[in-house]
Amino acid sequence: MNAITQHFNEAFSRKVQDWARRRQGTDPHSSHLASRRIYILPTRAGIIYAVVVFTMLLGSMNYNNNTGFALTFLLTSIGIIGIYNCHRNLAGVFLHFAGSRPVFAGESVRFNFIIENQNTYARAQLRFGLDGHQEICDVLMAGDRQPINVRINSTRRGRLNLPRLLLSTRYPLGLFRAWAWINMDVAEVVYPQPAPNAPAAITNHCGQSISGQQSAGDEDFSGLRSYRVGDPPKRIAWKTLAHTGETLVTEYHGGASDLVWVDWHDYPASNPEERLSLLTRRALDADMTGNLWGLRLPGQMIGPDRGATHRHQCLRALALYDPGSGHVNP
C-alpha cells in the first residue's frame, strides 16, 4: 500500500515538474523571480491551522459567541494575510549564477550564486538549494546582495549538470510555503579521481625515457628566472622573495629530455576507468614538476605545454573521454 502511494506521489511530482519546466523553460544565468514564477501552497502546519480555525468557527456558530467569532476571523485573516506576506517575501528576488570550479570525482562541486533584493523591503528566511537540502539566507536587506552556494557531491568523472534548484520560503508564519524552481543551464566538469600513485610507464613510444616523479631534470639546478604565470608554486624561490621582494622561479636543466607524455597506451592492462585514474595521477605529477608535458588519448593529443589552463584542458579531456567510442565527448 505504502509502495503504491509512494509510486503515485513520485509519478505525480514528476508530472508537476515536467509541467513547470515546460511552462517556464530554461532560466538565464541572471534570473528575476517574477510573481508568475512563484508557486505557493499551505504547509502541513498550514492545513492543520485551517482545520483548527474551522473548528473554532463551528464552535462560535454553535455557541453564538461573538468574541469567539472575533478570534476566529482574526486568525482567518492572519492566514489570508500570511499567503500574501509569504509570496511577497520571495517574489521579485534576483538570482545570479556566479561560477563554479571543476573538482575531482568524489569531491563536491560548489556552484556559486548571488541572491539580490532590488526592492525597498527586506526579506527573510530564504532557503536555497536542491530539493532535499537548502541553505538558509536569514536576512536580505532592501537593495542587498548576498553570496549563497549549492554543493553537490560528485561520484563519477564527467559532466555534472546543475540539477533543478529550489528557492523557497515559509516566512513569516510557516503556514505557507512559497517556492520557485530554477532550471539554469549550468554544468561543471568532474575530473577522474586520481590514483594514489602511478607506476612508471611500461612502454616508450618515442624512444625517450618516460619518467614519473623521478625526473633527472628536477635535480639539476640551472639558475633563477623571473616568474611567469603558470609556474608551479613549488618552484618559486621563496627565500629570495622574502629577501628581495622579487618573485623568481628556480630553473632546471631539462629541455626536451624533461618533456613528459601522459599516454593512454602506457597502461594497456587496466580497465578504462582505472586507466584514466592513473593518467590523471600522472598528469598531476607532471604538472607539479613545472616542465612541459602533454596528453595523448586515442584520437586526441594536447600539448606539450604547461600551466593551469593546459592542466585543465588535459584533465577535462580525461574527464570527458569516452573509452567506448575512443573519443572525447563534446
Partner: protein, 668 residues
C-alpha cells in the same frame, strides 16, 4: 550525470532542516502555554495545572541541561495516563472543563516531542484553541484585553517557531506579531460584520456556565423573588429614542402566569400569536432599544404593550408576552415600539379567559370565600377591585424582603395571619381574590423601573428591579393593577432603594452613597454597555440594519457571501496597490537627474540609445549641436565623475543636481 547527491546525505540534511526547537523557540512556546492556560486554572481539576507545570519545568530543565527528550516509550504511556486522568475526573472528554483540561495536557505533552516545525506549530495551535475556549467561558472586557495580549504573544510564538536558526529579540518579535495582526484587522472586521449569524445551536449545548442564571423564573411561588431583589446583576440596558416615559410607566413585561395550583403560579397558556389592537391605544407610543443579557429562556422584555419589534422570529402571544424563537443564550439587541397603557389584543382566546378564572379547589378556601363575600357586597367588578385595593391599604400589610415562610394555604396565611410580603405575595393574593370575584385575572412578572447612566445616556435595569403585578379582564380589555404599589407606593415612584430605606432594610451593596465610586461604577458600566451593544450582542438584527445601509433590506445568506467576497477582494486589491506604491522602485536622484538631462538633450538633438554610455552620447550630441558642447561637457563630466569614478563629493553632487535641473537647451 545529475543527482549525484546520495540518499544518505539527503536524510542527514533533512534532519538539519528541521532541527530541534532552539532555546528561544522553547521559551516562546512555554510562555504561550502559560498565558493560554492561566484562565483555565481555576476551572479544571487541580491535578491538571500541577501536571502541566511539572512537564513544562521538566522540559525547560532538560533543555538547559541538554538531556535528551523522552522516548516514545515514556511519552505515549504518559499521554494515555493524562487522558485516563481527565476521563476519570470528568467522566467525559467533551464539555468545556474536560476539553480545556485535555488541551492543556496535550499542549504540555506535545512540548516533549517538539522535533520539527510541525510539532512546534501544533503547540501554538493548541494555545490558540485554549484562548478560544476561554471566550466560551468569559466574555467580559477585561478578559478580552487579556486574551488579545495572549493572542499577540501566541502569534509571535507562531512566527518564531517557524524560523530556522535563532529567534529574534523579544521586542522585535512582538512588533512583528503586532504588525501582522494589524494587517489582518480589516479583513477580520469585514468577516465579523458580514459573516451571516445563523440563529440557534446545531447540536445541544453542554452547560456552558455552571452558575444558574439569575433572573425571572418560569414559575412564581411567593418567596422565590426575594433572591432576585438582592442581586445587582444587570438584566438589560435600554436606550430611549426620545426621552424616557415617567417612572410609573416603566413596567417591563416578562412571563405571564395564568395557572395556579394553590401554591405556585405557572405559565401554561397557549402560545397563540396575536397582534395588539392599535385602535385600543390609550397612551403614547415610545421607541427604544434593549440590550438583553442572556437568561436561557424565550421571553423578551418590552414595555407594556409592544406594538412592533425587530427581534428575528419573535412573536407576541395572546398573553401579551413577547417570545423569542430561540432561547436567549447570548446578549441580544432589539428595537421595539410600545403603546403605553392597557391594551386590547386582537383575537381573544376564550380558553385563556376561562383559564384565568380557575380557582384552586382544595386550598386557600378562606381567601376564596372572603373574595366571594366581598363581591356580593358590591354591584360592579370595578367597584370590587377598588374594594380589594382599599383592603390592602386599610389593613396592616407590610412590605418586606424577608417574609415568614408560608404553609399549605399560602394566600390564606398571608392575607389573614402574617400580612408581610413582597410583590409576589401581593400579586398572588390580588389575583386570587379577583378570580374569587369571578373576574379573569393573571400575574405578570417582569421588571419595574430603571436607573439612568448619565455617561452612556442609557438606562440600566437590574435583577433587583424584578417585579410582579396583576392584569384583570375588565370591559373587554386587560387592565393593569399593581397592589404592591398600594402598600409601598414610594417604591414604585422612587425605586427599590428608597422603599428599602424607608423600611429600614438594606438592599445590599449599591454604591449610591459615594459619588466618586458611583461615577467610576457608571463609567465601567458604560464601557461594558458599549462592549455588549457593539460586540457581544452583535447578531442577525444588527446585521440586517447594517445591510439596509447599502440598500439590501431582506438580506439572505447569499447576499452576505457576496458582500464578504467583494469586500475582501477589494481590501486585498487596495492593500496591494498601496504596497506597490510604497515599494515602487525609486531611481536614486543622481540617476534621475541624468535621465532628465538626457531627455532634455534628446529634445533638441537625437535621443540617447539604450546601450549608449555618457561618453558616446556626449560625442554624438556635440557633433550635432556644437553650440551646446561646452555646457554638455561640463554636465556629463560631472555625472561621469560622480557615477563612475567613485567620487563621493556631496558638493559636486549638489552642483550636478542643480545644474542639470537648470539645463534647458533651446531647439535650433
Amino acid at each position: 550525470m545529475t543527482g549525484q547527491h546520495n540518499t544518505e546525505s539527503q536524510s542527514r540534511e533533512r534532519r538539519r532542516e528541521t532541527p530541534d526547537a532552539s532555546g528561544g523557540q522553547l521559551a516562546w512556546l512555554v510562555v504561550s502555554i502559560v498565558l493560554a492556560g492561566l484562565p483555565h486554572i481555576l476551572h479544571v481539576h487541580p491535578w491538571v495545572p500541577i501536571t502541566v507545570f511539572s512537564i513544562l519545568v521538566w522540559r525547560v530543565v532538560s533543555a538547559l541541561m541538554r538531556w535528551p527528550l523522552p522516548s516514545a516509550w515514556i511519552r505515549v504511556p504518559l499521554t494515555m495516563l493524562g487522558f485516563i486522568g481527565v476521563l476519570f475526573s470528568y467522566r467525559q472528554l467533551s464539555g468545556l472543563s474536560a476539553g480545556s483540561a485535555l488541551l492543556l495536557i496535550m499542549a504540555a505533552m506535545k512540548l516533549l516531542e517538539t522535533r520539527g516545525h510541525r510539532d512546534r506549530a501544533i503547540v501554538v495551535f493548541i494555545c490558540y484553541f485554549l484562548l478560544f475556549s476561554t471566550f466560551l467561558r468569559e466574555q467580559a472586557i477585561w478578559s478580552a484585553v487579556y486574551l488579545v495580549i495572549s493572542m499577540l504573544v501566541t502569534t509571535a510564538a507562531l512566527i518564531q517557531v517557524a524560523r530556522i536558526g535563532a529567534v529574534v529579540a523579544v521586542p522585535q518579535a512582538m512588533a512583528h506579531a503586532m504588525r501582522i495582526v494589524l494587517q489582518s484587522l480589516p479583513i477580520a472586521l469585514v468577516l465579523f460584520l458580514l459573516f451571516p449569524r445563523i440563529p440557534g445551536p446545531f447540536w445541544s449545548l453542554p452547560n456552558v456556565s455552571s452558575r444558574a442564571v439569575a433572573g425571572l423564573a418560569n414559575e412564581l411561588s411567593p418567596g422565590d423573588i426575594s433572591e432576585l431583589a438582592l442581586s445587582d446583576e444587570v438584566a438589560f440596558r435600554v436606550r430611549f429614542d426620545a426621552g424616557p416615559p415617567g417612572a410609573a410607566a416603566l413596567y417591563w413585561r416578562g412571563p405571564v402566569m395564568d395557572t395556579f395550583d394553590g401554591r405556585k403560579w405557572t405559565q401554561r397558556g397557549t402560545r397563540q400569536v396575536t397582534t395588539p389592537d392599535r385602535a385600543s391605544r390609550n397612551g403614547p407610543a415610545i421607541s427604544y432599544e434593549i440590550t438583553l443579557e442572556p437568561h436561557g429562556q424565550h421571553w423578551l422584555l418590552a414595555l407594556e404593550t409592544p406594538l412592533n419589534w425587530d427581534a428575528r422570529g419573535a412573536r407576541l402571544t395572546t398573553a401579551g408576552q413577547l417570545l423569542s424563537k430561540v432561547p436567549v443564550d447570548r446578549r441580544m439587541s432589539y428595537r421595539s415600539t410600545s403603546l403605553l397603557g392597557d391594551s386590547r389584543y386582537q383575537g381573544i382566546d376564550q380558553a385563556e379567559l376561562d383559564r384565568s378564572r380557575i380557582l384552586p379547589t382544595s386550598n386557600n378556601l378562606r381567601s376564596i370565600a372572603f373574595g366571594q363575600q366581598l363581591r356580593s357586597e358590591v354591584t360592579s367588578d370595578a367597584e370590587y377591585l377598588e374594594k380589594l385595593l382599599q383592603y390592602f391599604t386599610g389593613e396592616m400589610f407590610y412590605y418586606t424582603l424577608r417574609p415568614p415562610s408560608l404553609g399549605a394555604d399560602p394566600i390564606d396565611e398571608f392575607l389573614f395571619d402574617t400580612r408581610r410580603g413582597f410583590c409576589g405575595h401581593y400579586a398572588s393574593a390580588f389575583t386570587l381574590l379577583a378570580r374569587a370575584g369571578g373576574i379573569p385575572a393573571r400575574i405578570v412578572t417582569g421588571y419595574q423601573g430603571a436607573e439612568l447612566n448619565p455617561l452612556g445616556n442609557y438606562w440600566i435595569v437590574r435583577q433587583s428591579d424584578a417585579h410582579a403585578w396583576v392584569e384583570v379582564w375588565l370591559d373587554g380589555r386587560w387592565i393593569h393593577f399593581d397592589p404592591t404599589a398600594t402598600v409601598a407606593p414610594d417604591r414604585i415612584e422612587y425605586g427599590f432603594d428608597a422603599a428599602m430605606e424607608s423600611r429600614n432594610e438594606t438592599s445590599g451593596n449599591r454604591l449610591a452613597d459615594n459619588p466618586l465610586l458611583l461615577r467610576l461604577a457608571m463609567s465601567w458600566d458604560a464601557l461594558n454597555a458599549g462592549w455588549n451593544r457593539w460586540v457581544l450582542s452583535f447578531g442577525p438584527e444588527t446585521q440586517t440594519t447594517l445591510m439596509s445601509l447599502i440598500g439590501i433590506y431582506n438580506p439572505t445568506v447569499e447576499h452576505f457571501i457576496i458582500a464578504i467576497a467583494l469586500s475582501v477582494t477589494g481590501l486585498l486589491l487596495l492593500s496591494g496597490f498601496i504596497q506597490r506604491y510604497r515599494e515602487r522602485p525609486r531611481l536614486d536622484n543622481l540617476l534621475a537627474a541624468y535621465e532628465r538631462l538626457c531627455q532634455r538633450t534628446g529634445k533638441v538633438a537625437r535621443s540617447r540609445q539604450p546601450a549608449e554610455g555618457p561618453h558616446e552620447y556626449l560625442a554624438a550630441v556635440c557633433v550635432q549641436r556644437p553650440d551646446l558642447a561646452t555646457e554638455l561637457h561640463t554636465l556629463f563630466n560631472m555625472y561621469v565623475r560622480l557615477r563612475y569614478d567613485g567620487i563621493n563629493d556631496e558638493q559636486l553632487r549638489q552642483k550636478f543636481l542643480s545644474a542639470s535641473r537648470n539645463f534647458r537647451p533651446v531647439a535650433d
